[in-house]
Amino acid sequence: MMTSDDIRTVHQAGLRLLEKTGVVFKHQPTVDLFASHGFEVDGLRVFMTEAHVEAALAVVPSWFTMEGRNPDRHLTFGGDHLVVANAAGAAFVLEGTDMRAGTMADLSTCLKLSHMSSNVDMLGNPILPQDMPADEGYRQSIHCCLTMSDKLLEYPIATPEHLQVALDTSEILYGADWHQRSRVFTVLNSLSPLQFEEGTCISALELAARNQPICLTPCVMGGTTGPVTTAGILVLQHAEVMAGLVLVQLVSPGCPFVYGGTSSISSMMTGDMLVGVPEYWALMTATVEIANHFDLPSRAGGGLTDAHLPDMQAGIECAMGLASVMRTGVNFILHGTGIISSFNAVSFAKFVIDDELVGMLRSRLKRIDISEETMAVSVIEDVGPGGNFLLESHTYAHCHDYDRPSFFNRRKHDVWLSRGGLDIAASAEKRAKAMLESYVAPDLDPLILRQLGGYCYGHCTVAPYQAVEE
């Protein structure tokens, strides 16, 4: 745990970087904007002072609510709210030990699982399908995300074209004045160390101008794109988040913003990013603590693992990764379910195991409810020494309190064996199958559905993937 002194020290170190070294924004209009507000600028490098950061911190809201098409599924970011989203951006699907290219059908499977899950609150675009041309695949993926579930979507925005799709589809869904409310939620990355790439600047400017939330998430890799030490990683990550915050608040004071981080150490043997390691858990915990300190909504951690099977390694790493941030009060978790192989692949079995894990952690995090009724002192008195509680009406009244549907084994060995003796991955596959069979697409206004179809499939050369019938 970081002390407030630790946090202040890290903050001061970050400020020093912003003031002395500066940050490169590879987009002239962004740099011009800073210059017009009196920031010191050298080429594309912008220098920020403590006063600039303080000014941004003074106006950024500590929480905000995203509104989707189903009012029951609006989501609040900040305070003690937790929003969990599924895996995002994987290229591959892992089945058994076999790694294969992800397809539209896999994307649809993931979305169905997310829609049916009671622990996943939000969608990430889980898979970048490789069975169609990239530009068409993007629109078709977005179409699937918007129609197969009425949960809010973390729009994957990597290029100005993607940004346009986000803006256009929001207008179709919510009408011309859609930006009166928070509708488009996206994660933007800095390009560590201390850079913001052109597309990121454009997205930040355009979204902030419409007052849409931005979750700024550096992915510093210790030893390669950042210092090798965890404290150094944290300082660099903090400086980059503050730089993004200053930009967003300059464009639109009061624009919702999330303090994100997914930085970790790299293997000094191979250079690979490591996400199943204690240093990652510590960094993610610290990320949340710093966000909490500044009263900002946070994003960190996830069900991440470096394993290539939904096995015990994966289980340990995910549980540690999720528990670290959940216990610290994180507000938003992307890659909460289904991601495997260090961000590179999705596993359906792991998806439902993670789903279960998130549910268990949510229960674990509830404080033990202390009241007359729950302490049951009078019941204990009534039963007395050596008695039995099974016949008590208190027991009868509360016997379902901790009854969580679960496919984890809770039975004795012989019963477990007689039911197939399945390991967790095999049980998870059964569970996934059942979830998929019970999937029902949410209602969507037929007119909107048609408009979305026209927009997303209009220019396609490849037959549209029929996720939802018109």
Partner: protein
């Protein structure tokens, strides 16, 4: 010879000052530059390569050793003939258009350089036409392409086409890599080599050289 052994060891642990002094001392004592190179500097890098493969040395240590070897070579150079230092080849390397991921590419570039290749790193988000131009301008005989996104992998194929159009395809061996790339993709687009990591990249490049 004890002094050459010392040089070898000091290259391995990246002790630059000691290597500079000892290489000079060896020359002063009458050892030929060729012997210092072969039995001191190159012998050290052979050990480093083996230790890296055996996962006994970490990347920063390998790079430090390579820099130390280069420093020693600086002293030897005036005493060596043109053919004494074998340059493995001239490599242009970059990340394809639309892609900003460069950590893997940087690693491959650094390790290729430390393995004796003359490397020109042309950065990220490089268009097929620019790759062709860099190959031409540098008279390269290797082109290394890196892509980390499935959406940018097709740019590798387009880069090969641009080389073809520019009449340069015959002059360069093309090596591809990056997390979503694999051997069958490399074969499919007609690349000359594929490597799954930086160590493999050096091996493949040496085989193609």
């Amino acid at each position: 010879m004890a002094l050459l052994d010392d040089i070898k060891q000091n290259v391995e642990v990246g002790n630059r000052d000691a290597v500079l002094a000892q290489v000079q001392q060896a020359l002063d004592e009458g050892t030929t530059a060729q012997d210092v190179l072969a039995q001191g500097l190159i012998a050290a890098m052979d050990i480093v390569g083996a230790k890296m493969e055996a996962e006994e040395m970490f990347i920063p240590e390998v790079l430090r050793a390579a820099k130390t070897m280069e420093a020693g070579l600086g002293i030897l150079r005036p005493h060596l003939a043109v053919g004494d230092v074998k340059v493995q080849g001239k490599v242009v390397i970059g990340t394809v258009k639309g892609d900003l991921h460069d950590i893997g590419k940087n690693l491959v570039a650094m390790l290729l350089a430390s393995a004796g290749f003359d490397v020109v790193d042309v950065g990220i988000n490089v268009t097929p036409a620019d790759f062709a131009k860099h190959v031409k301008d540098n008279d390269a005989n290797f082109l290394g392409l890196s892509a980390l996104l499935t959406t940018t992998m097709p740019m590798m194929k387009e880069t090969l086409a641009a080389l073809e159009t520019a009449g340069l395809r015959g002059q360069v061996k093309v090596l591809v890599g990056g997390a979503p790339v694999n051997q069958s993709f490399a074969d499919q687009i007609g690349a000359d080599g594929y490597a799954s990591d930086a160590g493999a990249a050096i091996k493949v490049a040496k085989e193609l050289a």
